[in-house]
């Protein structure tokens, strides 16, 4: 490697590095502006059909919208909606894509964005005729000759768009003034008579008695009714996160602590809470499964707030029915496959407070510890089920409740406990930003070990002994055999 050989390569590398640094610098300066321009371009086609619009966000098409609706965009400052429709004409297999901008029930812009057949014909004439029309008078617009299928299809699409916009606006009751219950007042959006009717719908053939709210109830839990056939119904009102519209629901919890039925009384369209898959996702969950309810990918605070409100209500009702322990036993039973009866062990009086309960699987597979660690920074406890085998090794861990961002999480942290014994549990890695919460949790698990029954590892001993005996026998045999051969 002479200087002659290195120099060219070195110079080239240096030049590349310098140029790369320069490019990186310019990129940092311009990338935000470039992203902004790209978004504007994407939305340019939407802005064309809604003059005065600035930014759009995509929302779900409302339930019951006609098939022709492909995408719905909501203008973020409340101007209205742009609906992208696709309609087929009978002489072409290609979709005719139409963008319609609707504000307050009136068409403000319409455009054909993709049509292969009669190109340029009617591109500017007949869509514009629909501007200013509403659901009542759109069908009176003169189609070009009445005979063309495309202009008829276009009119049908406009009709569908207007209907969809009606669906979107009608499910939102916009209050002109902030209702008093939002500011802590007493008036609820539904009065008792209305609620009685809705309750009868929710649980047929039963009577309802209003019960006093427990002191620990959250402000979103407005009323509790005890059901004559067993269980309770909670009336939940969650103030809107973005708009002054509340999300209301009746939640029916049965004697097993599971949500038997849920009725969404009012919701804001497009904010992640809706009566279809989302609401039905709650049914069948008890307090220890409610965390599994999925929020849509673009979950909003509205959806999160609602889920939290239902969770808290469910917790109150479970406590009210005093079935917490039963629900835990069900969970343990579910988590240990092929287990026999789960039996709760008696804890000695000197057991630590973090060890809430110990359960044994009667088929002898192991022990489950229910660990509850009070929160160090917030009044939320961390709860987990830890599975020990008969020899005092952790075989599994199930975090049921944790605080996000405090170092305890079901991924790497929790999995780090598996395989640990009493001596090695201290080695579980706390993440670099480890908090007291994570350390408390690890200590709680460590403190549980002495109370976990450990069987004498008889079979292990037998196994080791037999192998060593076999090995010794083999070695002895070899030695004797060799000696014999040597003598010969």
């Amino acid at each position: 490697m002479t200087k002659k050989n290195i120099m060219p390569v070195a110079v080239l590398v240096i030049i590349c590095v310098v140029v790369a640094a320069l490019l990186g610098g310019v990129n940092m300066l311009t990338k935000d502006k470039i992203a902004e321009n790209a978004l504007k371009k994407e939305q340019a086609s939407l802005i064309e059909v809604m003059p005065g619009a600035t930014l759009f966000e995509e929302i779900e098409a409302p339930a019951g919208a006609p098939e022709t609706v492909k995408t719905v965009y909501r203008e973020t400052s409340g101007l209205g909606y742009v609906l992208v429709m696709a309609t087929r004409t009978s002489y072409s297999n290609a979709d005719m894509a139409i963008s319609v901008g609707i504000s307050n029930g009136e068409v403000v812009g319409a455009k054909i964005t993709n049509y292969a057949e009669s190109k340029d014909i009617g591109k500017t004439t007949y869509p514009d005729r629909y501007i200013g029309t509403t659901l009542d008078d759109y069908s009176e617009v003169d189609t070009v000759s009445g005979a063309t299928v495309s202009s008829t299809a276009f009119r049908a699409a406009i009709g569908d768009a207007l209907e969809t916009e009606k669906l979107l606006s009608s499910t939102v009751t916009v209050y002109v003034t902030m209702p008093s219950y939002m500011s802590g007042g007493e008036t609820l959006p539904k009065n008792d008579t209305e609620l009685a009717a809705l309750l009868a719908q929710l649980v047929p053939d039963a009577t309802f008695t209003e019960t006093a709210l427990p002191e620990t109830a959250d402000s979103t839990l407005k009323k509790i009714y005890s059901v004559s056939s067993g269980g309770y119904v909670a009336y939940i009102v969650v103030p809107g996160a973005y708009v002054p519209v509340a999300t209301e629901a009746l939640v029916y919890v049965d004697t097993n602590g599971d949500i038997k039925n849920i009725n969404l009384l009012q919701w804001v369209v497009g904010h992640g809470v809706e009566p279809g898959d989302f609401a039905e996702g709650f049914i069948g969950n008890d307090i220890y499964h409610i965390d599994d309810v999925e929020l849509v990918s673009q979950a909003t605070y509205t959806a999160l707030d609602f889920k939290n409100a239902v969770t808290m209500a469910l917790g109150e009702l479970t406590a009210l029915m005093d079935i917490e322990e039963k629900v835990w036993l069900d969970l343990v039973d579910e988590k240990i496959p092929n287990s026999g009866e789960i039996v709760k062990l008696d804890l000695p009086s000197d057991a630590p407070s973090t060890l809430k309960a110990l359960y044994k699987d009667t088929t002898g597979r192991g022990t489950v510890a229910h660990i509850v660690v009070p929160g160090a920074y917030v009044p939320v406890a961390t709860e987990a089920l830890v599975y020990f085998d008969n020899f005092g090794t952790i075989r599994g861990i199930d975090l049921r409740k944790w605080i996000v961002g405090h170092g305890v999480e079901p991924g790497d942290f929790a999995q780090g406990f598996i395989g640990k014994k009493a001596e090695t549990v201290k080695e579980v890695e706390l993440v670099t930003a480890a908090t007291v919460t994570a350390e408390d949790f690890r200590d709680a698990v460590e403190n549980a070990f002495p109370y976990v029954p450990v069987a004498f590892p008889i079979w292990r001993v037998v196994g080791i002994l037999s192998i060593s005996l076999a090995a010794a026998a083999y070695v002895a045999y070899e030695i004797i055999y060799r000696k014999r051969r040597a003598l010969k």
Partner: protein, 245 residues
């Protein structure tokens, strides 16, 4: 000295116009001359890159070893082109969309690499920058000339703002569409080269150009006799060559 500097700047305009005399950079010359604004943006972008890359390459000329000369030049040129791309994308997105892939193709535009090889490598920074400016302006001039002809006669409009062509009253009704398409482009190009050839050095005189045979794109074709200052094309020379074979 001053005269020399001015002559460096001016020779790129007509005498050694990169597009019409040196016949370099024909791809953007044909593709981006369908409208005037395209030509102007292309010309300015190429000029900026040319000045910057010439200056930098000249500044580094003693440091870059001969063996990695071309890769180094390409990296520097590509760096400048990317910077221009990013700035256009951020602040003039309409122009950026209009130029499309041809903006990136400036990297492999023969003018830039050619001037780096022929001139920047052997001259000072100031001279190289001036040469870059001159060549760039010549490129711009040639492109605008072509675009004016092609758009005015071919489409009857002049576009100075991207997306809004200005219609010329009589010509827009009686335009010649072929001029805006590929065959017309070549036609206009060829005619312009012919015109510049005519007003350039007279016929018969040996064309004295500053670059030697080693930098000339047609060296392989002409057998290195056409442009050398010491050899003039005469019948005697040709006879001598024929005899020596």
């Amino acid at each position: 000295m001053k005269n020399n500097k001015l002559s460096i700047l001016l020779k790129g305009l007509i005498l050694e116009n990169p597009v019409l005399v040196l016949v370099l950079g024909t791809c953007p010359a044909l593709a981006q001359t369908a409208s005037v604004i395209n030509a102007i943006s292309m010309g300015i972008a190429a000029t900026v890159v040319l000045i910057c890359s010439n200056a930098v390459i000249s500044a580094l000329r003693k440091l870059i070893p001969d063996t990695v000369r071309i890769p180094c030049y390409i990296v520097i040129i590509a760096g400048f082109v990317t910077v221009v791309q990013m700035l256009l994308n951020a602040y003039l997105p309409d122009l950026y969309d209009m130029m499309g892939v041809y903006l990136a193709l400036i990297v492999v535009n023969c003018i830039i690499l050619g001037r780096a090889e022929m001139f920047a490598r052997k001259n000072t920074v100031v001279d190289s920058a001036l040469d870059g400016a001159g060549m760039g302006l010549g490129f711009l001039l040639a492109l605008v000339a072509m675009a004016l002809i092609r758009e005015v006669l071919g489409a009857g409009t002049i576009t100075l703002i991207p997306g809004s062509p200005f219609k010329i009253p009589f010509l827009s009704d009686y335009n010649i569409p072929i001029l805006t398409q590929a065959p017309g482009g070549f036609l206009v190009f060829g005619i312009l080269i012919a015109i510049v050839n005519k007003i350039g050095p007279k016929k018969g005189e040996s064309k004295r150009k500053e670059f030697t045979c080693e930098g000339c794109p047609s060296a392989a074709l002409c057998g290195k006799v056409a442009c050398s200052e010491s050899i003039e094309i005469t019948a005697d020379t040709k006879e001598k060559e024929a005899k020596s074979e």
